[in-house]
Subunit: 408 residues, 2 copies
Amino acid sequence: MTAPLHDERRTSSGARLPDTQQGMRRRNLSRVMHTVAAHGPLSRAAVASHIGLTRAAVSTLVDELIRSGLLDELGPERPGRVGRPGSALAVSARGPVGIGAEVGVDHLAACAVDLRGEVRARVTRPAPNRGRSPVPVLEELMLLVEQVSAEARAAGLTPAGLAVAVPGLVARGTRTVVRAPNLGWHGIDLGRLVSTEMPLAVDNEANFGALAELWLGEETPDDFLHVSAEIGIGAALVVDGQVLRGTHGFAGELGHVPVRPNGPACPCGGHGCLEQYAGEEAVLRVAGLDPGAERSELLAERAAAGDAAVRRALRGAGEALGIALTGAVNLLDPQAVVLGGALSRLAPWLLPALEHELTDRTAGRACGVTVSGLGPDGPLLGAAHSVARAVLDDPVGVSAGAGAGPGR
Amino acid sequence: MTAPLHDERRTSSGARLPDTQQGMRRRNLSRVMHTVAAHGPLSRAAVASHIGLTRAAVSTLVDELIRSGLLDELGPERPGRVGRPGSALAVSARGPVGIGAEVGVDHLAACAVDLRGEVRARVTRPAPNRGRSPVPVLEELMLLVEQVSAEARAAGLTPAGLAVAVPGLVARGTRTVVRAPNLGWHGIDLGRLVSTEMPLAVDNEANFGALAELWLGEETPDDFLHVSAEIGIGAALVVDGQVLRGTHGFAGELGHVPVRPNGPACPCGGHGCLEQYAGEEAVLRVAGLDPGAERSELLAERAAAGDAAVRRALRGAGEALGIALTGAVNLLDPQAVVLGGALSRLAPWLLPALEHELTDRTAGRACGVTVSGLGPDGPLLGAAHSVARAVLDDPVGVSAGAGAGPGR
């Protein structure tokens, strides 16, 4: 057997392109930006010691970032000290912001997040988007985007890119919503329908929700499975701080993992999928409520009030979640499972049955289940932060107008 | 909401340490080695054009690799040409080899693979390892390792490291077999029990099998789910050419994905796990054969001879595999599912039911199912190649005695 060791694309040594001085400079510019965003204001010397480069090297990088309007010099630091005073560096107060937007089944939202991670503007509006045509939905969304962008500009900030979270599958590396069953959208290319001068990225709400958890959650590990629900049930696996997207961008379809293979038919073509037991519609029906009229907020209210039928329905949903998650934990071995979105509100009634199934079936190998503190805000925040982080990750590329949007 | 953008560990820009000239040099040494191993003999100029560096830069790198004994200069190339003749470079015929070894439930094996991917020595021996204590098993294994190492040395090659494939879970980043139920091993640290001067790596056979498929398979994509079986059923997900290991190193436990949640109890603690339907013991029992006495080779023979009970049993196993893989495909969205190990022999009788379930349940989103051409050789070859590739990936590090073994 010969000839197998060669494929250069597959070297495990990291980057796939030849290392160049230029690539190294760009990565080091990113390290300086991340360090100042995280720990600033900092002197050049402090930045140098943080990232392990010489002060001379850091000074060159810092000068370029100041010229690009990404860092500000705050003036002499500790002026009483001997020698040339160091000047404290901070992320520019007039720099880029990331714009995030969300198309929900029942609402639209937009926000602006600066390079330090602060939300600088935000707006949410109820909107009955189920079955509505994409054009008016996206026009209405862009009014909200304009509103938060204008607020950001009024504060001296520059929108650097727009990321849109949608409740559906987005083909990897594109801006096309392949399938958003709860909106009724199929094959909708937001790149053509959204009119903006900003770089535009589009992703599944479950992926942005998981990234928000990774970046904003308290003590969130680098490897976890994030499970969220609005109407359907989605999930995203984060591995080493990156969302696992799958070949077509469709990974994370926990809602269509078979729970009982001979169970009820699912619109996906399967039988007994998790959504048939733990999706909003299924839970409302089991609870004796009308899925056409009621929504999941009601489930939390009624369960809290002690409604036995609702609690029983949620127990059944938790059981089904526990079975599907047993499969996921065996396949993926995540450090934790995090319940986000609407599931976080329902956690008190879902968790006992869920954990019982998962712990029993995995005999102590179970990973812990935690509840997100972000609740339904995750996808919107994740979208805006993904743009702000893209600036930090490649400050020169972005300041030249490229590359907003989520990673691989 | 503040302070989220900073964590330097999470920059998506790639490497986690500051870029240095030294790191860049090491990565470029690797590119030269991979290029010559893949396409050699090559002149320095050809290497330079392959990897996009200047000829001067490549010459410096090549000189270091020649000094380290990794590349050979074959003498003047096309001596009739005008100007200074280029000298063709080739991977050294007297360079390092990777040693792979395998502990199977019924056999032991070892082999040596050189940097061009050629098997230079190989030995396999039947061994009834079920329930046998690790010490004699590993002593016997090391006799085989010594045998192939001696053969390699006699050919002028130098064993660079040893990688051992085991039929069980190995804790990530360690050499400890946490659990190998079919051997009866629990918490066995091969780092303590294996006596060798070589760098030693230990991993699950399913992971090495998947890597062999990645490196040696024909047209294997970079993203696939490799499913294999000896006695149990294991799997490994390859993403972008890397095995997804999971937090503890336990990812890929397809055999314990629930297929029918109220099905028979499984030793893992679960109920209705895939192994209860498609594991060797279950299939033998359903076929009316004695799992204590018979083995899976017999299943293929009998199925080929038209034995109706065996074919029915394999159809049931294929169905269960299809249900478990529906969950895996929904979660992971791989480009392909590859059946390896003993499953490749049984594929003709498993595949129809498997594909029927998977295609029906995923409604056209199904990824294709292919059968490995490596059969039961995968884990052993994957182990040896992982050592050889580690040399190519970091030639200077390895020539200094470090770093054999699989990547993350």
